[in-house]
């Protein structure tokens, strides 16, 4: 299959960029490498005829998640790794344990499925319409749960963001500076 | 309602867009090298030195008033050693060196204003860029000297007034000179008569 060659190219690319995302010293570089890895994954999905997933991957991971990661990196001050600091965390053993656990959780359903049995799929391309119908019928409950969860997260984020000005008021030297009178104050002052 | 102001503004720009195709009022651009506006008569750029007849007859007498009054002090004059007769026949110095550094000159026209000899006037040339910013922008007497005819062409009414005045002066001077000559002649006759008388008396 000619697809195989390009698959391997992209697979190697994804692995390389994913490694780069872990190993690079500059967190912004890491984030950009992660974005590249996401994009490579999208291409692989596309090759597997999973159009919808591929585009969703691009839209959400490249367009949104990686931007979010970058924002997080930039907003976290002093997150730069100083030269000489060991890249690996001292808690690497814990990390390894978690990684193994995650791999196991993923591996169990994969192995129990018909993966690797080389059965020709019933449908080569999943039409978007079908995905929509399935989401709205069979997977309605998970979908709604996820929606609820995200809404809660959104509201929570908004609440956290709203509270910030009071905190910054204390920290900033802004309060020491002459405050600009508002228009109402001015009017009150001007009127005898 | 939101957006009404922007729509009003867009109507205005659309009017200007179409208007620029039909009305000279709106499209006032002059496409310079091809189209050129005639300069206003009063327009001034750098100074020039007026001469009557040929280059040897500059009106300038190297009096140095412009040099003194120039706000930017961009004029440099050296008097000649010999005098020449001016239009009234008086013997006047002429400048041996008359330099204007037009990279310093700010075209204010004060030199022309203070000149008592109607010599330094304001030119209307404006394409003055040169290859060399030092020597190219230091104008000498030869570059600055312009014929009275040229001055007439750029400032007709000023030049006309000045010429009329100068003609008047000249006429007066000639009359005066004539009178002086006549007087002299009369005096000469008188004296000759007197001497003749004396001769007679002596005889």
């Amino acid at each position: 299959m000619p697809n195989n060659i390009s698959f391997y190219i992209f697979a190697v690319g994804v692995l390389a960029t994913a490694t780069a995302a872990m190993r690079l010293r500059n967190p912004v570089h890491c984030a950009l490498a992660a974005a590249a890895a996401f994009a490579g994954l999208a291409v692989i999905y596309f090759q597997l005829d999973a159009e919808f997933i591929s585009f969703a991957q691009l839209l959400i991971y490249v367009g949104a998640i990686s931007i979010l990661v970058i924002f997080a990196v930039l907003l976290t001050r002093g997150s730069d790794i100083q030269p000489g600091v060991e890249l690996a965390s001292p808690h690497w053993l814990t990390g390894l344990a978690i990684a193994v656990l995650v791999a196991f959780v993923i591996a169990v359903p994969v192995c129990s499925s018909s993966f690797g049995e080389k059965i020709a799929p019933k449908m080569t391309v999943a039409p978007v319409k079908l995905i929509g119908e399935e989401l709205m019928t069979r997977y309605l409950f998970p979908l709604e749960t996820m929606g609820l969860l995200l809404t809660v997260a959104l509201i929570g984020a908004a609440v956290i963001a709203l509270r910030e000005p009071e905190e910054s008021e204390i920290r900033n030297p802004k309060s020491e500076i002459r405050k600009q009178p508002t228009t109402e104050e001015l009017v009150a002052e001007v009127q005898p | 309602m939101l957006g009404s102001g922007i729509i009003k503004g867009m109507v205005e720009t659309a009017r200007n867009f179409f208007g620029s195709y039909v009305s000279r009022e709106r499209l006032t651009t002059v496409q310079y090298p091809e189209q050129q506006l005639a300069p206003h008569e009063n327009a001034r750029t750098i100074p020039l030195l007026v001469y009557d007849g040929d280059m040897e007859h500059l009106r300038c007498t190297a009096c140095g008033i412009c040099e003194m009054e120039c706000p930017a002090q961009c004029i440099y004059i050296v008097k000649d050693t010999v005098k020449k007769s001016d239009y009234l026949g008086r013997m006047q110095f002429q400048p041996r060196v008359f330099d204007i550094d037009i990279s310093v000159c700010m075209a204010c026209g004060i030199c022309a204003e203070v000149c008592p000899f109607d010599s330094i006037m304001m030119d209307q040339v404006f394409a003055l860029s040169t290859q060399n910013r030092f020597s190219g922008l230091l104008l000498h007497k030869e570059d600055l000297a312009k014929a009275n005819g040229y001055f007439h062409a750029i400032h007709p009414s000023d030049a006309g007034d000045i010429d009329a005045r100068r003609d008047e002066d000249k006429r007066k001077a000639e009359a005066k000179a004539k009178a002086a000559v006549a007087a002299k002649a009369a005096a000469a006759i008188k004296s000759s008569e007197a001497s003749a008388k004396q001769v007679e008396v002596a005889a």
Binding site: H29, F52, F55, L58, G63, L74 | N16, F17, S20
Partner: protein, 393 residues
């Protein structure tokens, strides 16, 4: 008529038929790519010159008219100048990222054109999820802008990049939300099917989406969001030259700058082409009597008209402030697009055998969208009393 309409398609097949069967599919792809690059590259060149001339006329001047006849060769002169300029990379810049940013911006944008039907039978790929693909490849531009701004190591660049990202993310929401009614009512994410859904004529006038209440509102909402999405005035804050020099482009010069310039215009073209496809009936002629016109001609006329509107707006309005820009998106565009979604639903269900009069349907829709427009418009700029100026004698 049919020949002229399909002239490019026939030309392509004729060319393919001259080739051995093995390479035909590959050559077909290459031909599509060349066609898109050639057409939109020319569009880019033409738009830069026509935009400057149009803006010039709006401002009562000629605009560029020195190079070639009527100044039409100005883009060539610009290109030569851009390509021969020194490529300056700041000393402190992150060189790799600085180098990659213009590529990351420009390359995916070309992909977006592949799903747009430019005429009858004239779309490069017929993707089932074409709309989704369009927005997906558009997502990379945010990343590119960030890369440009961050790698320049310039505060203006960084501020510009931050503005650009916040703006693009904020306006992507109304942009997609304005698209959703179209997708819902035509029942497909496939752009060809969306165009097909707008075929047919009622009383000799085309049945485009823009001639429905939800389509009309949606079209304008989409255009506003598209203006912001492509960083055009009045939403050109990322490059707000009076505030932050040139935003994320501050440290770019020469060819890289030209690439960014190209990318910006291509983004504009892509989103304009999408708006034509979604709301203006794609390549369909506006009137039945005009059906003899080639489909691609109809498409590009509409396309040019929308670009002209963008230029017109650019020549008129000042720039918004950043917080106002975000407020405009979240407090005005997003709620309105949501209301519009509701309007679309109502429109859809009133047609289902309810036998409602067409004018009544319009009335219901207008009753939903107009008060919402007024209300959110008011809320955006709360009580601004008319100012009265006094005179001292």
């Amino acid at each position: 008529m049919n020949n002229l309409d399909q002239i490019f398609v026939y030309a392509k097949y004729w060319l393919l038929s001259q080739l051995p069967g093995g390479v035909q599919s590959l050559v077909s792809i290459v031909l599509d790519i060349i066609a898109i690059i050639a057409v939109f590259g020319t569009c880019f060149a033409l738009t830069t010159i026509l935009e400057r001339k149009g803006l010039g006329r709006i401002q009562n001047r000629y605009g560029p008219n020195r190079v070639g006849p009527c100044g039409l060769l100005q883009p060539m002169a610009d290109a030569i100048k851009m390509l021969t300029k020194e490529d300056i990379v700041p000393f402190a810049a992150d060189k790799v990222v600085h180098y990659l940013a213009p590529l990351v911006l420009t390359v995916p944008i070309w992909l977006a054109f592949s799903v747009i039907p430019f005429g009858r039978e004239m779309s490069a790929i017929d993707l089932d999820a074409g709309v989704l693909f369009f927005f997906a490849v558009g997502g990379a531009s945010e990343l590119a802008v960030f890369m440009a701004g961050w790698s320049s190591r310039n505060k203006y660049s960084l501020v510009g990049a931050m503005r650009a990202i916040a703006q693009m993310i904020s306006y992507e929401v109304p942009l997609v939300l304005a698209t959703i009614p179209v997708i819902m009512l035509s029942g497909s994410l496939n752009l060809n099917k969306i165009v097909e859904a707008q075929s047919g004529y009622a009383f000799g006038v085309a049945q485009w989406n823009v001639f429905t209440p939800w389509g009309f509102a949606g079209f304008f909402l989409f255009l506003i969001a598209a203006t912001a999405e492509s960083n055009r005035s009045p939403f050109d804050l990322p490059e707000g030259e009076s505030e932050i020099i040139a935003g994320f482009l501050t440290e770019y010069s020469g060819f890289k700058y030209a690439l960014f310039f190209l990318g910006e215009y291509l983004g504009l073209f892509a989103v304009t082409a999408l708006s034509v496809t979604l709301f203006l009936g794609g390549w369909h002629a506006p009137l039945q009597v005009l059906e003899f016109l080639p489909s691609w001609f109809c498409f590009f006329v509409k396309f040019a008209a929308i670009i002209a509107v963008f230029i017109w707006v650019r020549g008129t309005v000042p720039r918004l402030r950043f917080d106002q820009l975000l407020n405009f998106s979240w407090r005005f565009l997003v709620p309105l697009t949501l209301v519009n979604l509701l309007v679309a639903v109502v429109w859809h269900f009133t047609s289902l055998g309810a036998g409602l009069d067409q004018s009544l349907r319009w009335l219901i829709s207008a009753a939903m969208i107009v008060p919402a427009y007024v209300y959110f418009g008011r809320a955006l700029s709360p009580n601004r009393p008319t100012r009265i100026y006094q005179y001292a004698e």
